[in-house]
Symmetry: C2
Subunit: 349 residues, 2 copies
């Protein structure tokens, strides 16, 4: 309960009432319904017309499926998301042999969310037996059995699946990484977009867009606040005018002031250029090595900072273009993997 | 067919006969059975007593479950792997409402592999209707319907699941990365394990073993061939005596000669040390920058090469230990993520 309270506080949720879980799925749901019925001392919420029941282990529920089940519940008294079966379902006999196999096309997997008229589902739970509360798993079944309410079945998206095995945690992590990689903001310290900066922008935009990511270009002076209001978790800072971290500091301060707290780590790639005819490689490296300490500091605030150094000589355009292309490829790799162990590193293109 | 032939050739499989697929699952299986019965012109295999049927979309099948279904098939005529249901299965009515929900505890998901006495399953397929061949999905059902053979059901592991959705591809990728990260070989160019080398070995071994990885230490002179015979996909090369890539080259040549071809990319981390009181940082960097070209070359042979430089000064032991610890953490990050975009980079601890 303390952990849940801390999460609610951190993300500033206002309209949440916590209720203690029961020993089984149905007992927990019943406790929640009682609280909504006003049977709970700390309940602040009025009794609703429609109630949605969902599983925390199905974290990728979108608003449209919630709207679908609620609308259907208003018409039918109950509604639930379903999916086609992936494997054939069979009935074993007592001795562990095949008794019968069900026609896969005639059956569906019952998933979550489900929605009910509050009166229907609360009436069902108040009538149901101890055996139901102890061993039952299906709310739609209770509504049918005790209130004769035939739930409307709504086809849900595949992302509603139940996170059950270790492989589901892997899948979940990759889906989240995918989701937060959808938008990249490229911030420049100059209004100019000529020369290698313009070329890098072009290559980067192209490479990212191939991967289905939208790219926002944000030249110097443009208000970053609009970006922070959105759900952008990826920033590429192109530094041309100075070697220090002034621009990055400004960006990170902006990110910090964003409320509620950052939900996922933000990845920031700081891009620098080295004209190796005019500046010594070792001098530039030394300047940029300060990034390590800086990255360590911001990592505590859930920001992953990486550096990329693009080397060039003014008179070798082909080499420059090749290195810029390599820089773009390194940047996209960093943003895709968000490797916590490589923050503060300066990668060289 | 050409792609399959190429795979069989590349991995030097000897006892494989390819058969063209049919338009449906059951027609494809029937084609395979016909080939085993000697009805196929190019068949080289004798008709077996027991035949195993498996799905390519269930790539993580272990030998023990194959043994279980074959043993059970010998006794019962047919056997198949099953799993508990994750979601409740329901029957929809014609108007898309809930008709009935099945008791989850009384049903199972039928998975693969399945095994049959060849005579049983071939007889079932020869008798079954066009409707079965067109719309059926369950081989156990055919054995029951046409040969009255009640299959023995064998509990399978969760990794038998069917790779169906995009999230399953993510899960699969992570499971493979997990599998090939189980073993790390640490190669040294010296027999000494004193000083910072010994300390690095200790920290690395500890950090990797926490993650359930076994670590083999391989001092200079020890025969690498034994390692290559195993399934090791991770090498950490600790270089102390020279700055060049002599040791790495020897290692990579060994890897190359391994047959059959490497199935997954091999990750190699080349670790170097810099005593910054005695050697100039920029000189050392320049030497090691050659790694980029070298890495590009070996990447074409499915080897991912990364560099790690650990800096220290002889008189600051605390700093040295801190940097070595950081180096170990960078190495484990590199081996875990196997990021193809970061090969050839020199990371600094």
């Amino acid at each position: 309960m303390d952990m849940m309270r801390a999460i609610i506080h951190q993300y500033q949720h206002q309209r949440v009432t916590l209720v203690e879980a029961g020993a089984t799925r149905h007992r927990s749901i019943f406790n929640g319904l009682k609280a909504l019925a006003g049977d709970h001392p700390h309940s602040k919420l009025p009794t609703p017309t429609v109630v949605i029941i969902h599983d925390a282990v199905r974290p990728f529920v979108e608003e449209d499926v919630l709207v679908s089940v609620v609308t259907a519940a208003k018409d039918h008294g109950a509604a639930g998301a379903i999916r086609p079966l992936v494997s054939t379902v069979i009935t074993p006999s007592a001795d562990g042999c095949l008794d019968q196999s069900l026609d896969r096309a005639k059956h569906r997997a019952s998933e979550m969310p489900q929605a009910f008229l509050f009166d229907v589902i609360y009436r069902a739970y108040r009538q149901c037996s101890d055996h139901d509360l102890e061993f039952g798993t299906e709310c739609l079944h209770l509504a049918l059995k005790y209130c004769h309410t035939k739930a409307k079945l709504v086809e849900g998206p595949p992302d509603l699946w139940k996170v059950t095995y270790r492989r589901d945690l892997y899948a979940m992590e990759s889906i989240i990484k995918d989701k937060i990689s959808q938008q990249v903001c490229v911030v420049m310290d100059t209004k100019e977009d000529a020369g290698c900066i313009g070329f890098l922008q072009g290559v980067l935009k192209k490479e990212l867009e191939v991967k289905g990511t939208s790219v926002t270009l944000c030249p110097n002076g443009q208000d970053l606040q609009k970006i922070f209001l959105g759900e952008c978790y990826n920033f590429v800072c192109i530094n041309t005018t100075s070697a220090d971290f002034h621009q990055i500091t400004k960006l990170l301060d902006g990110l910090e002031s964003r409320t509620p707290s950052l939900f996922y780590p933000v990845a920031v790639v700081s891009v620098h250029f080295l004209d190796s005819q005019n500046v010594s490689f070792s001098e530039r490296m030394k300047e940029l090595m300060e990034m390590k300490d800086f990255a360590k500091e911001v990592k505590e605030r859930n920001i992953f900072l990486y550096g990329v150094l693009v080397c060039f000589t003014q008179d070798n355009l082909q080499q420059l273009h090749e290195n810029v292309r390599q820089g773009a490829s390194i940047i996209t790799s960093l943003l895709k993997d968000r490797n916590a162990g490589l923050t503060g590193q300066l990668l060289i293109a």
